[in-house]
């Protein structure tokens, strides 16, 4: 190899010889991964890139072919392509040389473009303009590689996607060209890849979700890719792409759900390998297992997307044979990918009240879910904890057993997470848990969370965390005995926090939530006094009564009405005090207000 590389780099050797060297090296690279590794160790890539500067086309093609073979190997780090900025622009220039340079360069790009950084580099070097016309090349290989290039360039990249819609080749816009490549008599690979391009463009907002090319072309094409007749890899890619396409659009979800019995078709994904062959061939088994995992996670993902918004679809999914069992099994799979997908699917289905009460309960879904939550990586935790949020809703029968299995502790620890989404989910779940809960649960939550942590959360930079924490407080402070109990132990801190928030720069919703907490406190028997003795707070309530926002006025009114409620002991004194503050004048004003809600109070 060293000798070959030496000869290759020797300017003095004839181009024929150098070409032959590149060809031999290319053949070596075709071998095992170890071959490629040792070639990389010999610094073959810089040598070949150097070779591209040669004026001889045959030699360039040989170098590119060899580079292509090396770069498509999984052991080659993609970054090697981007170490020298001039390489990309030189490759772009070589695109015009011959159909072979076109094919190899596109192939290199499509394998080496991982993530937004690479996409941006290639995009800034004019990849879109340089490659677009290759889509109408006479060579199938060139067309296919160019198409693949676009599918990786546009993937989750709005900038590229928005550009693509307006590019035209020979008077035809790229979306039209992609649609032509979707035709059913085209090779499957081509259909699938162009569907991916269109999907990326649709998700980026470059194509509307109700555009016929999505609704009548891309979506049916992707559903076809999920059919049993397709290869395993195609089924996996098809399902994943479709899941991505319909993830956020309920109309597309509805259409996909009725197309070609997709929901039933996906159930087949779990039937691989069909027969458990005798464990004679370990390699084969390993291969089967890998495919089985891929298939299952793809199916879960697609189910998750399908059931994201529509109750009827969720029902259909759950009614599919053994669906809940499959999800439950999926939750305890060894493969992280499958577990994640299964949790996502479960999360999507857990948005259904009916299912929470029936199938979720029947299958004791909470058990494996709680297990997943122990020591799982963050990405799983995020989804699993939001699923837990749904399972902890007041009407969910799973609430009790989940509590018993130590959920409070777990959720409290989540609120301390670095990860914002986990903090939100943690506090959200606690909030749900506290809703109309028993005294004991509430105290457990407070104890588990500790007041310090509670204040930490109240000063969290994220509005969502703040809102859910306030929500938790509000849920904790409901029903009179609970209010009095909590206020007697934590009253001081809570009042402090409330003052802080009302004084701080927060949006209307936050303030409203805070005023509602005050209203709850005012509902307490003993807790009332904490407000009545706090002139600062009373002034604030008065201020919000004449606030321009009706919601805030309403919330403040609640406070007042709770404070002056007639049937309670000492109500007269409180009324007097408030009258002294001039509240009555404001009430008079409000009673003439146009808002009927306010008038009623």
């Amino acid at each position: 190899v060293c000798r070959l590389l030496y000869l290759l780099q020797q300017e003095t050797s004839s181009t024929e010889l150098r070409t032959e060297c590149a060809v031999v090296l290319g053949s070596l690279a075709m071998g095992t991964e170890n071959n490629v590794k040792s070639l990389l160790d010999c610094h073959i890539i810089p040598a070949l890139l150097q070779g591209l500067l040669s004026p001889d086309l045959k030699f360039i093609e040989a170098c590119l072919r060899c580079l292509r073979t090396i770069f498509i190997s999984p052991v080659t780090p993609e970054d090697l392509l981007y170490t020298d900025a001039t390489v990309i622009s030189h490759l772009m220039a070589l695109l015009s040389r011959s159909r072979y340079t076109q094919e190899y360069i596109c192939q290199i790009f499509s394998h080496c473009c991982k993530g937004p950084d690479h996409q941006t580099i290639l995009f800034n070097h004019g990849a879109v303009q340089n490659i677009a016309h290759l889509l109408v090349s006479t060579s199938y290989k060139v067309r296919m590689q160019a198409l693949k290039c676009f599918s990786v360039l546009a993937f989750e990249n709005p900038q590229v996607s928005m550009t693509l819609v307006n590019v035209s080749v020979d008077g035809e816009l790229l979306p039209q060209i992609f649609v032509k490549m979707l035709q059913r008599d085209k090779p499957i690979e081509m259909q699938l890849t162009s569907a991916k391009c269109l999907t990326s463009m649709c998700r980026a907002g470059a194509i509307r979700t109700d555009d016929p090319c999505i609704v009548l072309k891309t979506l049916p094409c992707l559903v076809r890719m999920c059919s049993k007749d397709r290869l395993l890899e195609e089924r996996v890619e098809g399902a994943e792409t479709l899941a991505y396409l319909i993830e956020t659009d309920v109309e597309l979800q509805r259409m996909a759900s009725i197309t070609d019995h997709l929901i039933v078709m996906l159930a087949d994904y779990f039937k691989y390998p069909s027969s458990v062959s005798a464990i004679t061939d370990i390699k084969r088994l390993d291969h089967d297992l890998k495919h089985a995992h891929e298939l299952r996670q793809a199916a879960f993902k697609l189910y998750a997307s399908l059931g994201a918004n529509d109750e009827d679809i969720r029902k259909k999914i759950i009614e599919t044979e053994n669906m809940m069992d499959r999800i439950v099994n999926g939750l305890s799979e060894s493969s992280i990918k499958v577990r994640l997908a299964a949790v996502r699917c479960l999360h999507s289905l857990s948005r259904s009240v009916q299912q929470l009460r029936t199938s979720f309960q029947d299958h004791a879904v909470w058990k494996p879910l709680m297990k997943v939550l122990q020591n799982a990586p963050n990405e799983i935790l995020v989804v699993a904890s939001s699923t837990l949020c749904n399972l902890l809703l007041e009407f969910s029968p799973s609430k009790e057993p989940i509590l018993e299995s130590g959920a409070i502790e777990l959720l409290c620890s989540l609120t301390q997470s670095e990860n914002l989404a986990l903090r939100v989910n943690g506090i959200w779940a606690l909030m749900n848990m506290a809703f109309q809960a028993e005294q004991k649960i509430k105290s457990d939550i407070l104890r588990g969370l500790s007041t310090e942590q509670l204040f930490q959360l109240l000063s969290d930079s994220d509005v969502n965390v703040l809102m859910k924490t306030l929500g938790l407080l509000r849920n904790l402070l409901s029903t009179r005995p609970h209010i009095d109990h909590i206020m007697s132990t934590h009253g001081k801190q809570i009042m402090q926090a409330v003052t802080l928030i009302l004084e701080g720069e927060h949006n209307i919703e936050v303030k409203e939530q805070t005023l509602c907490i005050l209203a709850n406190i005012a509902d307490g028997t003993t807790a009332k006094e904490l407000i009545m003795t706090n002139d600062d707070i009373l002034q604030k309530i008065k201020y919000y009564m004449s606030h321009s926002n009706a919601k805030l006025q309403l919330a403040a009114m609640f406070c007042i009405s709770n404070l002056i409620w007639n049937e309670e002991e000492g109500s007269q004194e409180r009324q007097d005090k408030l009258r002294d503050m001039g509240v009555v004048d404001i009430l008079h004003k409000l009673s003439q207000s146009s808002d009927p809600n306010l008038c009623d109070k």
């Binding site: 035709q183 059913r184 008599d185 609704v215 009548l216 072309k217 049916p220 259409m255 009725i258 197309t259 070609d260 019995h261 997709l262 039933v264 078709m265």
Partner: protein
């Protein structure tokens, strides 16, 4: 779907019904404003419904092999249904669906296992090609092909050439000579085939009307050029639909090769390319012609100059055809057998093709406008009538004969036979079936197959497809023989 032998998809519950009152879950429900489609695939006997352009997936309970009729059931009074059988574009992309199936069928055909045992398939293909060339008398092409593929030709060279010559005569409209040549070369053939003879004679009569047959041609000293009106090449290949043009060009190619063979006798300069392909031999012979052209445009020059003067005016394709016409000429020069020369000069032979270019010229007259020729034609007509009566006595009535004769004679009833209800007979294309029949008869008399295996296979394929269509096998609609004849 509730009644016997009925199948349906209900809008109220989205269930499918198969001749029973209980349904199976099938698709979504549908209501006012929805477009519901039903697609029956006759290839794999499946069916699926569509809603607003979306395929709802396989409809399970379809019976195989039965006639289905589209039906729509309505329940509420005043309901309105619009039916679309394709008069408007469908919402569902049926074209795309058909494309997929066409591609599927065609790839099945392409990948059909042949079970090749050690080159047997190749040998068979070679034999098909070779026998086709021999059958139609593309003598030199066949020889060249045999040499390249290392195969042998069953029929003798001279026999092929004889047939070729006779066919050429028929296609040129000179049926009388063709009959003469046949009688000379294959004595007894026509006597044993009275039907064939009658057909030839009828054709001869038509050609007399046309002014192309030699019996009337000899009278017309005036404008011999306008006589022959066979358009295109004098190729013998049968026509099958769109494949026409291509087969014609092969027909044009092969006689060019025979020209090459001829040249070895006549011109020494060509002898080193005895087996070259048609294109090179035509170019080698056309290069001297272009030199000569300017010198001699008139038809009265030496023979070699005539070659050039005519061939130079043609496109390269028809140039080859011209060379083909030289063939009898070459025989005439070198072997002094004067079979071909007959009663007219070779200028006329040479000009036949050129005249085909003037075919559109409307100045066509009965028997070439010659009075003596007309008389000869009428006399021939009488002979034909007698022959017909004689045949009738010997073999009984033959409606086919009667029709042929009637059609032929009807031509005389019109002032312009070319533009009359039976004028189609005068179309040179009508010579082809006659020519093929004669060729087949000759081959049969030599104990050779009367049809080349290639044509047999083609015919079989077409017939097979027709049979498939009759028994309702859908895949035949995506496998047309024409698709494979380019």
């Amino acid at each position: 779907g509730w009644d016997k032998h009925s199948y349906g998809y209900h809008g109220d519950d989205g269930h499918s019904f198969c001749s029973s009152g209980t349904g199976q879950p099938y698709g979504p429900t549908f209501t006012t404003g929805d477009v519901i489609g039903c697609c029956v695939n006759l290839i794999n006997n499946t069916c699926f419904y569509t809603k607003n352009g979306h395929s709802l997936g396989k409809f399970v309970c379809l019976p195989s092999q039965s006639n289905l009729y589209p039906t729509v059931g309505l329940q509420t009074p005043g309901e309105i249904v619009d039916a679309n059988f394709g008069q408007q574009p469908f919402v569902f992309d049926i074209e795309d669906y058909m494309r997929e199936w066409r591609a599927k069928i065609q790839s099945t055909i392409k990948r059909f296992p042949i079970g090749d045992r050690l080159g047997e398939w190749q040998a068979m293909l070679q034999n098909m090609v070779s026998s086709y060339l021999v059958h139609h008398g593309y003598c030199s092409t066949a020889t060249a092909f045999a040499r390249v593929t290392d195969t042998t030709i069953q029929e003798e060279q001279t026999s092929i050439k004889n047939r070729q010559r006779i066919q050429k005569l028929v296609l040129a409209g000179r049926v009388g000579e063709a009959i003469e040549a046949t009688q000379q070369l294959y004595p007894g053939l026509l006597e044993h085939n009275p039907n064939l003879l009658f057909m030839l004679k009828c054709r001869q009569f038509v050609e007399m009307v046309n002014g192309t047959d030699s019996e009337v041609r000899c009278f017309s000293a005036r404008s011999p050029r306008s006589q022959d009106s066979y358009p295109g090449s004098p190729s013998l290949s049968p026509r099958h639909g769109s494949s026409n043009s291509h087969l014609h060009s092969t027909g044009a190619d092969s006689p060019t090769c025979s020209n090459g063979v001829m040249s070895t006798k006549s011109k020494q300069s060509h002898s080193k390319y005895p087996t070259l392909s048609s294109s090179s031999s035509s170019s080698s012979s056309s290069s001297p012609s272009s030199v000569n052209y300017s010198e001699s445009n008139s038809t009265d020059s030496t023979k070699s100059q005539q070659h050039s003067s005519t061939s130079n005016q043609e496109t390269s394709d028809s140039e080859m055809e011209m060379e083909a016409e030289h063939y009898p000429n070459g025989v005439l020069e070198n072997s002094s057998t004067r079979i071909m020369n007959g009663t007219y000069k070779h200028e006329e032979i040479l000009q036949t093709d050129e005249s085909s270019m003037e075919d559109s010229c409307p100045q066509r007259q009965l028997c070439g406008g010659n009075h003596a020729a007309t008389e000869r034609m009428i006399q021939f007509g009488r002979e034909l009538q007698i022959l017909s009566e004689q045949l009738c006595r010997e073999y009984g009535k033959n409606t086919m004969h009667k029709k042929m004769l009637q059609d032929a004679f009807s031509l005389l009833a019109y002032s312009d036979p070319w533009n009359c209800p039976v004028g189609q007979q005068l179309d040179p294309i009508q010579r082809e079936p006659v020519c093929a029949a004669l060729n087949s008869a000759i081959l049969e008399s030599q104990n050779l197959p009367k049809q080349p295996p290639l044509m047999l296979a083609l015919g079989q394929a077409s017939e097979c497809l027709r049979l498939m269509a009759r028994v309702g096998l859908g895949s035949c609609s995506f496998a047309r023989v024409d698709d494979y004849l380019h």
